[in-house]
Symmetry: C2
Subunit: 408 residues, 2 copies
């Protein structure tokens, strides 16, 4: 079988996807893999033979430390869905010819649902054609919506950013002695994990978000207005956290009611935007309160300067576990995290058949949400608190965090 390894990153970025890359790379090197390649722009770049030699690029311990502090995908990314090989094998034939030419024995893909679908299809094709290349997936997504795994690397840092930001915005939004509503628009189309993280801000030094609206609960604008009005009787300046994906009972996104609703992301996918602005307009018109809409936007997934150390370390462990698994003979697997206890927090990696995880979506359990009072229950807090614990100090150069960059 092949002697070399190749690693790719795929899908949307996170603050810790590079820590997983560092984990895969480090274990491959320690276990004596001759050459470790990186694919530029995921499978899409691989098809164009856009490769880099990670063994050379990451040869120093400093480069590994910097890599773990660099947000987004060091290798570049893609959003590419492989066809069914039974219908169209040509892409597979090209890919496997290239992998064999590079003497690849181990193939790692770090990503979310779509990336696990890639691992599934490649490992099935390998079995069908009798290839012994081993395919292992490393989970990654800020959305925390992958099945099987207790949580997903990337979520903890995004949750920490949202907690930090919510605390700071609460301080900012409550300085005037007047009625106001600040609405934070948080990512998450179908799963409310990120928006729920705003609940972490509440503590003895912070009022926290007065209301939290997840996509798992049908959004009723009239009930929302009544809740805002009631909450303002207690404290005039409110901060409200709303998922970009909140929908009315009939399934329509609330942001579709805004004038410039659906925007298009750099990949050409429509993305949701405008929910907070729409709700601000509604509150202004109906309650006469001052409002401000704040979209947390892409910073949720790239604010590495406030990454969770727990998350950075688990991302590294997941990468290392994937490398260990492949080198020990496993294929068609994804690494998952299994929590042993909340407090003290204990969590281990384990392997799951990729069929268990690909193309499924995990949402926030309804019993963790107090829909009536738009708040997260203690169950959620106990789940989320350990994931944002501890910090990774950035390496500051001239006052700004230093990153590791791959030249184009």
């Amino acid at each position: 079988m092949g002697h070399n390894a190749i690693i790719g990153q795929s899908g949307g970025p996170t603050s810790v996807i590079n820590s997983s890359l560092a984990g895969v790379f480090s274990v491959c090197r320690r276990r004596g893999v001759r050459q470790v390649y990186g694919m530029r722009f995921g499978v899409q770049g691989l098809l164009k033979e856009q490769l880099v030699d990670l063994s050379a690029l990451l040869s120093s311990p400093l480069s590994i430390e910097l890599l773990q502090r660099t947000p987004a995908s060091y290798l570049g990314s893609c959003r590419y869905k492989l066809p069914d090989y039974r219908q169209d094998a040509s892409v597979y034939e090209a890919l496997f010819a290239l992998l064999n030419r590079l003497d690849i024995g181990y193939f790692f893909y770090i990503g979310g649902n779509d990336s696990m679908d890639t691992i599934l299809k490649l490992s099935e094709y390998a079995a069908a054609v009798g290839s012994d290349i081993r395919f292992v997936g490393v989970p990654k997504t800020i959305d925390n919506d992958l099945m099987i795994t207790d949580h997903t690397p990337g979520y903890g840092s995004a949750a920490k950013y949202i907690g930090v930001t919510t605390k700071e915005i609460v301080r900012d939004a409550t300085i005037y002695d007047m009625k106001s509503v600040t609405i934070l628009e948080i990512m998450g189309r179908n799963a409310g994990w990120l928006t729920a993280a705003a609940a972490l801000a509440q503590d003895e030094d912070c009022e926290g978000a007065s209301m939290i609206c997840l996509p798992e609960i049908a959004f009723d604008p009239e009930r929302f207005l009544a809740q805002v009005e009631r909450a303002q009787r207690v404290s005039p300046s409110l901060v409200v956290a709303v998922s970009e994906g909140v929908r009315a009972a009939d399934g329509h996104y609330i942001c579709e009611l805004a004038d410039d609703a659906l925007s298009v992301d750099p990949f050409g996918h429509k993305y949701l935007s405008g929910t907070a602005r729409y709700l601000c307009g509604l509150i202004g018109r109906r309650l006469g309160s001052k409002t401000r809409a704040v979209e947390l936007s892409t910073l949720q997934r790239c604010a590495a300067h406030t990454a969770s150390r727990t998350d950075v370390e688990e991302a590294y462990q997941c990468g290392g576990a994937a490398a260990t698994a492949a080198l020990d003979g496993q294929t068609g697997m994804m690494v998952a995290l299994r929590r042993l206890s909340d407090d003290p927090y204990l969590c281990v990696t384990e392997l799951h058949d990729i069929h268990e995880v690909a193309n499924l979506e995990k949402t926030v359990p309804l019993e963790w949400i107090d829909a009536e009072n738009a708040r997260m229950k203690e169950d959620f807090l106990a789940y989320a608190r350990p994931l944002i614990l501890s910090e990774v100090t950035p390496m500051y150069v001239r006052g700004l965090p230093r990153h590791l960059r791959l030249e184009r």
Copy 2:
């Protein structure tokens, strides 16, 4: 004369306005001032006798440390402009009666242009009626648009946040192998100091912002499109920093071209919003590139977790210098910062007559801007770099920065 001191905070918040409060308070205590009051919600709260006893609230060294790490105005804020006392003295009579009843000898106001106008008017009224209460202003604004002072406490931390964020968003925005334009919308209606800070991101590990558009330079959409197109020939994914206040040659704000242009802030002031969204639409229509609009929003002024230590310390020094000045007999003054050298960076406080500073606005020198290439020149970088240097480690509790909060 009076034995006690009173401190107020006014105008928009910053990450370090509380460090100035700590500076005034600490020197007053050290110099033996009997009682230090805080006004809730600035002069507006003072008129309603909304006072707190800072001597009790800030009695421990830990509370001072936490205060310096807490964004926004600990005491609350207001936007309140005093009338001309020659036309309407009633507010002044009420205020001075209260100040005398509280045995106030020293009055400190931490704020921007409007707040310095308050110091000016109160000190003039005091002179007119023969009061010996001393009035001293402490500068504060993220906008950096105060005259006389080399820079304004609050700007360094906002600039650091913008530098950190721009670096992270550049990493995030350049992961796909395709054309895209990400537009960062940055605060600053007339002065481009904050938007210019995006230039700090460029370094050997970061491409930085490809273009920077300040309100000081008339914005020509056609020239902008041509520049974007040209830049994309070199690197397909661009990040562009645009001031919310950019205007066409005829003086119209670019954001007025957006559908939902002028929004209203929690104080009821119209604020500019939508510039980035408008430009994204324009680029999409005319160049067919993918786009994303990111409004940095209120986080620019409250992201204390990434405050500049230089800024936090200078804010404290300005507060301390104000207390020293008042206790030494000065009135009708504002503390300013005077830079002695860029590298090594040396900066001292000095006093200026409040008439020199109130109601004037300082913009970015045109010779620091390369309008043709939409870039900041080295002069600006030499000016701004020292202001973002070094960090203040937040005190993390349960994974989030701890703040000091005044109960409502």
